[in-house]
Amino acid sequence: TQLLEQSPQFLSIQEGENLTVYCNSSSVFSSLQWYRQEPGEGPVLLVTVVTGGEVKKLKRLTFQFGDARKDSSLHITAAQPGDTGLYLCAGAGTNFGNEKLTFGTGTRLTIIP
């Protein structure tokens, strides 16, 4: 069974601060996605990382895939109140393109104005 553990589970910081969220597993994934979920809504895709060591940037968000493709991190620079939400990582297995996603436990982020 593939498991993805996210840390921290909850994070509350002041506007303007930087933060990093981690997503760890003992399993290797063919790709890893980061989603953001608002209350009562479905997860919204932020980014996909595929190659070990890959780094992708989305404005103030930086995503990195671990060299061994077992873990990932999300770094937010100068956090804004609009960044508040539930951040989920999800890993796809080896049958690329037709594989279920295993979701992480989630990090609930609150940015205090």
Binding site: E41, G42, L88, G97
Partner: protein
């Protein structure tokens, strides 16, 4: 922007009743999925569907569950005899072969009384 649409947004039913949740995936997508999220818990994989048949299902997806794509457009999840523990948010998702990324609908909240 294309999106996955789900109906109903909320359904309340009595235990033992049949429920059908409907989804219209993004039109050029080939892979279709149902996930569920019990309140406060992780998003969990239920079933994947490709080429008009189930490609993978989880332990949750027992004989009470079924999926079909009757008209090449809608993708439905049927629960034959609902149980209290089926109460959850059910998310439909679709994807292509190229990236493994999934696009989720806004979900159908099922409440079983």
């Amino acid at each position: 922007e294309p999106e996955v649409t789900q109906t109903p947004s909320h359904q309340v039913t009595q235990m033992g009743q049949e429920v059908i949740l409907r989804c219209v995936p993004i039109s050029n997508h080939l892979y279709f999925y149902w996930y569920r999220q019990i309140l406060g818990q992780k998003v969990e994989f239920l079933v994947s569907f490709y080429n008009n048949e189930i490609s993978e299902k989880s332990e949750i997806f027992d004989d009470q569950f079924s999926v079909e794509r009757p008209d090449g457009s809608n993708f439905t999840l049927k629960i034959r005899s609902t149980k209290l523990e089926d109460s959850a948010m059910y998310f439909c998702a679709s994807g292509t072969t190229n990236t493994g990324e999934l696009f989720f609908g806004e979900g159908s909240r099922l409440t079983v009384l």
